[in-house]
Amino acid sequence: MRQQWVGRPLPRFEDEALLRGAGRYLDDLDPAPNACHAAVLRSQLAHARIAKLDPSAALELPGVVGVLTGADVAELSRPFPAGVDCPIPYRAAAVDVARYAGEPLAVVVARDRYVAEDALELVEVDYEPLEPVLDPLTAAATERLLASDRSFRYGDPESALASAHLVVRERFAFPRWSGTPLECYGVVADWDEATGSLTAWANFQGPFTLHSVAAAALGLPGSKLRLITPPDSGGSFGIKSTVYAYVVLMGLASRKLGVPVRWIEDRLEHLAGSSGATARITDVEAGFSADGELLALRYDVVEDVGAYVRAPEPATLYRMHGSLSGAYRVRHVAARNRVVTTNRCPTGLNRGFGGPQLYFALERTMAIAARRLSLDPAELARRNLIRADEQPYRTPSGGLYDSGDYAACLDDALRLARYEERVAERDRARSEGRLVGIGVACIVEPSISNMGYITLARTPEQRAGELPKSGNAEGASVQVSPLGGITVRVATAGQGQGHATVCAQIVADQLGVGPADVEVITEMDTSTSAWTVSSGSYSSRFSGVSAGAVLRAAERVAAKARRIAAHLLECDPDDVELAGGRAVVTGSADGISLRRVAGVAHWNPEALPPGLEPGLQATAFHAAPNLDPPDADDRIASSAAHGFVADVAVVEVERETGRVLVLDYVSVHDAGRLLNPLLAAGQVRGSFAHGAGVALLERTVYDADGNLLTGSFMDYLCLTAPELPPLTTGHRQSPSPFTPLGAKGLGEGTTMSVPAAIGNAVADALGRDDIELPLTAPRVWELLA
């Protein structure tokens, strides 16, 4: 059957409601009538013993329902499990000791949020200050704060480094930052004492592995934690995966106080107490031959995950494990990964998830090597890029790249950027004393995470005795009503990516209808949706695996519809085609409407072909291939699909002020087949803005005592329109052999590449290697001064 809708730049069906203000975000819903409102009492200090926490005055305030304290949390729940055995247990609220400024100490529940905040001020807290640790290297040298220390070795990096013509040894620091969705966290929790179960509505993102983490903390089988996400979510970028901790906290408050509890996080709480990307220090050793072949790479990484190892951490480190060698053919790779805790808010998923940190170190290293080898950086990259005829390509650390001509993408980017002209212009500008620089970044963008990669944080010996983890799967349902209406239900819990539109496109092609004829239910309910632990929208997995599940379910419904139609039309099902809302016999005028087929399936099962079940619906699961658990040598295919991004940045640094002006930015992507080019462009642009944000402005800052200095949107500087660099994009489409529609993720690539490319350009402009992000005017000026 000819596909017509997938691949088209169709505007979104979602927009009609959103543009009318008729979206349904969490705080727009009133799912548990008579819910009381919660406010969270948070630690003022980064590290302190809570000597006293006395809510009695708060309880006296009219309108206050009750208070849940850290002691209650300890009594009613267990610590959250995580990927490593951490000496410091993590719970939904601090028990005895607070370990970051902003950590929940108690929850006050009242008639409304205003009164709840009044009551917060009446809770008496006595702190006994403890010494905070903010420096990750200090933490790495402190046994109690070193949560994990693993070393990996692939090939023979020592020999390769020893024989190298050039060894680059550099340290790179990547700052902590956050995607800061504009809708903050929200939870409505309703504990049912009769059944001992919790129903929670939350703008939780997934992965739904974290549903199991939350249920384990509550001591419930998953069936007694019903988690429902609303149809709309105001952005997440990874950040809302951590809502689960507050599902538990509010669930416990509801349980203790016997009322439904509603908590809408405010922006100050969000910046202090939600989540963020890890800060990372990476020491790189990279060996090169005289003609620029990258021979060996060695990383020594210290990853700061904040006060606790909070699931899914330390996943930020391992998400990229199969891509330690980036886009390059290097065969000898080593890494030491240390995960440390410091007195900052715990980290978690954030757009790019490990990619920005890895590629900043790797691509800065490549640029430094190019300079030391007197090679053009684009030429150095080209000499090392994995070749198209090597695909699918197995990386030294076990990654399995799928498709793509990386060098061709790079050439596209150089052409779009007028690279040679730009280089000449730069050299001319330099001779006039201007600070112009060009940066290149070539990165592989993994998508569809292997749920098993996190087990790399444990040794092969530890893993041997445990349930292996692997794969990435998603479920979806398609049903056709007795009147022929088509409904799709997905468990992606998206946050604005346009899943409903793309699902409608996919199903429309399979059932021979228009996408406007397909209703897509994006509300996720763990009690009724078809889902797996890997459900959710993260690791850019929708187009590869979620779309696959929708396709499989639609294929099954289509096959059944053809069988029914064939029976009614007295022909072979293979001769039935679904098109134009009808089932027609190929090459003839005979046919019946899809509505009629559905009607028969529902109303007249006696007319169905013998042995066929009544009804017209299917639930299907699709699992991405090749995602085995890590092997005994710690190799893992950490993702199922791999796109490629080649970027060129041209900058000028204003000598007098240190301001970085991005004159031109070109980004060329190969993300396989684009299911909807309009939406794909939106993902690339949005990802670019996040990458540019962390390159130029955004950073979460704590002072030496662990106080958060970027605690409001006046201090945490999200990129706005006037600061946005100009962007030119290009696309190639090398279908992935590993996804049903040939699509790969593309929502994170530029967040991974832009910090590296702009960093390289600024380093080139300044002629020095010690640049640090974000490259704000004052910080760049300090380098010039």
Binding site: P11, R12, E14, D15, E16, L18, L19, R20, G21, A22, G23, Y25, D27, D28, Y114, G179, T180, P181, L182, E183, C184, D232, S233, G234, G235, F237, D266, R267, Q495, G496, Q497, G498, L678, L679, A681, G682, R685, G686, S687, F688, A689, H690, S712, F713, M714, C718, T720, A721, P722, L724, L727
Partner: protein, 153 residues
């Protein structure tokens, strides 16, 4: 508690509110007009922007009692029950929204802005957007959509 009378999108409301109730909370939770969103409650993000007596303002920086006697427009009032406006259509065509959380505030600011600057330059539109955070779209499609809508007027 203070009695107030407010007209929103042409409909008159009489309510009694506490002095400290923020207008954003009043619109969302007292009136149930949840299209107006709250993203920071300190005036930076722009999500809660509405039109009060013809001028766009941040509803989180305004008390409900202050709006007594005023006429408000919120995103729900743009198209009413009818077709989307040219501005709304331009947002859809340009894919100028993803999660949609910032969108109502930007639409309301843009309505006011285009009323006063019917033929804006790109730079002016970018300047308008300095007061609105969007974390999904990378802004450019929003700039294009507003310019498209200006061109259609």
């Amino acid at each position: 508690m203070i009695p107030i009378e407010i007209t929103v999108n042409g409909r008159r409301y009489r309510e009694t509110v506490p002095a400290r109730l923020l207008l954003s909370d009043f619109i969302r939770h007292t009136l149930g007009l949840t299209g107006t969103h709250v993203g920071c409650e300190h005036g930076v993000c722009g999500c809660c922007t509405i039109i009060l007596d013809g001028t766009s303002i941040r509803s989180c920086l305004f008390l409900a009692v202050q709006a007594d006697g005023s006429e408000l427009r919120t995103v729900e009032g743009l198209a009413g029950g009818g077709e989307l406006t040219a501005l709304q259509r331009a947002f859809r065509e340009r894919h100028a929204l993803q999660c949609g959380f910032c969108t109502p505030g930007i639409l309301m600011a843009a309505v006011d802005f285009l009323g006063r600057h019917p033929e804006p330059s790109r730079e002016q539109v970018v300047g308008l957007l300095s007061g609105h955070l969007c974390r999904c779209t990378g802004y450019e499609p929003i700039v294009e959509a507003i310019l498209d809508a200006a061109g259609e007027r």
